[in-house]
């Protein structure tokens, strides 16, 4: 037993909910106490679902237990009557699994006509990710049926799912690339897939399964069972995307050759850009620009799930040239894979596999990297230790569920990640430079203490100070970064040409503050003019 505050992964039933809320015409029934219905909120609030998620808690109460009643059959009947699903997946909870009830028999006694699958997810052995992937694999095995290949080149995309990290955006990025290649999408699953779609999976020429966490095992099954080649790499970054495209084309052309169909060819790379005539990604040039010099030597610490940790470490190191101070994952079952993938990027000592956020926070505090790429948890730890952080993996916060197109995969994704790195680090760098020049004259309001504040009531009334119960969506616990306030303007010393020219060499985003500090220095010493000498002396005095 241990004391737990926050968890990286959700529960097994949450994983089941993620698959069911991804698919059409299916439904999850949780044989669980009332409170376990909380998972529904995560979907309705974080994903802002305009319809009811496909999940129902078949309530188990203390009275039911005392009387030996089981409401499951009645719930199944109600779900069938109101939602008409083709498939209902029943799953027990952490408490009801101990009752050792035979849910198969209970489910069968309901007499519902649709398929009912009692999914054996032991919540003490499985968490969100393995439960989701396990269920998805089981469904693919249950429904995928042998059939002729499509006449045109086509692929399946396995892995995008409800509450998957930027999954909707990634799916758009993948579809865009496939469209450019002239390759049809046979089935996307679980995102938007029906049971019938699962049946049609073997019609594709190839399966794309970019996420280590979800879809990979199903893709391997399709390969073993139906000979559908699985492309399991994640195209995160420009170089991996180029390699991924080559592998995709090669894989499709093997099938084309077998079928005697025309080969798929890679069009000019500009075809992959949004307007069809520009660079597919701006990262390769951006990384070489003078501006990016400032990143040389900025170290990064990356912690998250398997796919994003590996993808982002490689991207930062290979494409932006950043040193990696450390990396790791909370998915303990994937730790070996991540470790292996990061061979040559991080040493054994720099690698961390843990599901306790305190351990990760301690590592961050010790390394003090210029950039942390992590989850919500790291973002909060980073605030506490005054480090720059961007979120690259679940668990997420409502603010990671933005409206604009922000994929992580493909050429588009490379640009999105690079932008995020740049803005996260630049703002941080500004702060470091201020520190470098001393922050005398700059008011730094203290970091806001993170109070558990629920969303301010929309009427602008004072929130109930005791109020914290908020949906996942509503916990806007942080305030905006404090803004710095310029020093009061007293008689300003005059800047001489030489000093002015030197000042211009200071990066524009801190120039104003350097100016203020140097002027303050000059005033304090009674200089009426700021010459190059004074500027140098000021820099020296302030600690540059």
């Amino acid at each position: 037993m241990r004391l737990a505050y926050w968890m990286y992964e959700g529960t097994a039933h949450h994983g089941v909910g993620r698959i069911m809320n991804s698919m059409r015409g299916v439904h999850a029934v949780f044989h669980a106490p009332q409170g376990d219905d909380y998972v529904t909120t995560i979907f309705t609030m974080l994903e802002r679902t305009p319809a009811f998620p496909a999940m129902t808690t078949s309530v188990v109460s203390g009275t039911d237990l005392a009387r030996g009643t089981i409401r499951l059959p009645e719930t199944l009947r109600q779900v069938e009557a109101s939602r008409h699903p083709e498939l209902i997946v029943v799953v027990a909870s952490c408490s009801t699994i101990l009752l050792q009830e035979n849910l198969e028999i209970a489910a069968r006694s309901s007499g519902v006509a649709c398929d009912v699958l009692v999914y054996d997810a032991n919540p003490y052995r499985m968490a969100e990710t393995s439960a989701a992937d396990g269920l998805f694999t089981e469904l693919v095995k249950k429904y995928a049926s042998a059939q002729p290949l499509t006449t045109q080149p086509s692929v399946n995309i396995l892995g995008p799912s409800s509450l998957g990290f930027h999954a909707r955006h990634d799916l758009i990025a993948l579809r865009r690339m496939l469209q450019v290649l002239g390759v049809a999408v046979n089935v996307v699953a679980p995102w938007g897939a029906s049971v019938d779609d699962l049946r049609r999976l073997p019609a594709a020429w190839l399966t794309i399964a970019p996420y280590r966490e979800l879809g990979g095992r199903a893709a391997e099954y399709l390969e073993a069972q139906f000979g559908t080649t699985a492309l399991r790499e994640a195209p995160i970054g420009v170089q991996p995307t180029l390699r991924w495209l080559d592998a995709l084309v090669a894989g499709l052309n093997t099938v084309a050759a077998r079928l005697g169909a025309p080969a798929v060819t890679l069009p000019p790379l500009t075809a992959f850009s949004l307007d069809g005539m520009s660079a597919p990604s701006n990262v390769p040039w951006f990384a070489r620009t003078a501006d990016m010099e400032s990143f040389a030597g900025k170290s990064a610490f990356v912690f998250g799930d398997a796919t994003h940790t590996v993808g982002v470490v490689k991207f930062l190191a290979d494409e932006l040239g950043m040193p990696i101070a450390g990396a790791g994952t909370y998915l303990l079952k994937e730790a070996d894979w991540v470790r292996e993938q990061l061979e040559g990027y991080v040493s054994d000592e720099q690698f961390l596999a843990t599901d306790e956020f305190q351990t990760v926070a301690a590592r961050m505090a010790e390394l003090r990297p210029e950039l942390v790429c992590g989850t919500q948890m790291e973002r909060h730890s980073a605030r506490r230790y005054d480090l720059n952080c961007m979120v690259i993996a679940p668990p997420t916060h409502i603010e990671n569920h933005l409206l604009a197109y922000r994929p992580f995969l493909g050429f588009d994704g490379a640009d999105v990640i690079a932008d995020e790195v740049y803005t996260t680090c630049t703002l941080g760098m500004e702060k470091h430079l201020i520190d470098l020049f001393g922050d005398a004259g700059l008011e730094h309001p203290d970091e806001p203490v993170e109070q558990p504040v629920a969303a301010a009531p929309p009427n602008g009334a004072e929130p109930h100070p005791q109020a914290t119960l908020a949906g996942p969506a509503l916990a806007v616990a942080e305030m905006a970064t404090p803004t710095t306030v310029a020093a009061p303007t007293v008689l300003a010393p005059v800047w001489r040409h030489d000093a002015e020219a030197m000042l211009k060499k200071v990066p524009f985003f801190v120039r104003g503050r350097v100016r203020t500090n140097v002027e303050k220095y000059a005033r304090e010493r009674g200089y009426a003019e700021i010459t190059a000498e004074v500027l140098l002396a000021a820099k020296e005095a302030i600690g540059a």
Binding site: M7, Q34, G35, P50, S95, S161, P458, P465, T468
Partner: protein, 427 residues
Amino acid sequence: MPPKASFTREDGLYHSFCGLVSVGWLYQKIKDSFFLILGTHTCAHLLQNTLGVMIFARPRFAVSLLEEGDLSSSQPQIADQIDEIKREHRPSVIFLLSSCTPEVMKVEFEGLAHSVSTPEVPVLFVPASGLDYTFAQSEDSVLQALLPFCPVAPPDDRRVVFLGSVNDAIADDFALEAARLGIPVAGFLPANHFHELPPIGPGTVIAPLQPFLPKVANQLVNERECRVLSSLFPFGPDGCRAFWEDLAAEFGLTVDLSEREAAAWERISAHTELLRGKKVFFAADTLLELPLARFLRAAGAEVLECSTPYINRRFHSRELKALEGVRLVEQANFERQLRSIADEQADLVISNIITANPLIGRGVVAKWGTEFIFSPIHGWAGVNTLVGLFTRALRRHAQLDPLGLDPVWTAGVMPSAPREVIPLQRQ
């Protein structure tokens, strides 16, 4: 004799949380407390997703996590964790909350709490598991656990104790209002600190501020022989007037607050104008539903249905009387509610956080009920906030460009969404 209010009881297949969520406000209310939940990954995940994700200011609550290996021992060892909590948080009192798994395991919680309790830092058992407790109900359990620590007041100590956690501003309001009416105040249960609990005895009048505390009210009568005020709960002008007049009467004071009530209604007339004749449907789960519905009805709205998890004939007797004629449902069935909302064309649905967005997606104006728990809606000072919560949803909806139910604006948002939207509202 409690009135024979009529309400129906359905099968309870609705959306809600369990009693653990009360921790969200109680740990902040009782500032030197710590809430330890003996539970599982599920309970931890619930807390982090309902209490405001990732509050990092060292929350004074945690889950003592039962893992697979712990399931075989009938009495878990929590001594080390209690020590860790004492070391890191220095609480004056630790509440040990039950959850479903240890309940199923038949953990003997009283004994467990006792085994780690010391006179300096008592560890108090609080039943809160989702098998038996919903939402705000576990505040009732916490107050019951606190009661033995309230000093016993002598019989001639004739003062009021306000029952239910409210924030400091509301508490000040109530203390001030009582003073103005000449009602002596002994304090609040719970108080801000463990050692500030009010004295309670046979002369004490208990004035319940929250409608979800029937058990502790009962226990107060049985163990301390005090009187529990039976009135409306102090929400809205009508509720406040009844509450204060009845409370004053307990102290032999006759006060007439009719003018005060009229003035309060007058101040919110712009809101009540908007509410008049509106068809409102309560499908929420906070246990505040009865008094809220009563207020809305007094404000001129038509309450189509008021569903609430539990109704207590005695504790809610006055509210029930005021709600006569309204369809009251305990343990509602959500699918049935959806059909009723569609049939009766509700103008406003007070739902819970779980169902708000999907209801809005079906063309309904939905208001998330939990906001009432978190807003200062008590007393005279809360009237404006209270009515504003109802009207804001209506106003905002009216102000936005009509979206209609054209599915184009939600296309692709939700992978499992049925391709057809089934509207609850006629266009």
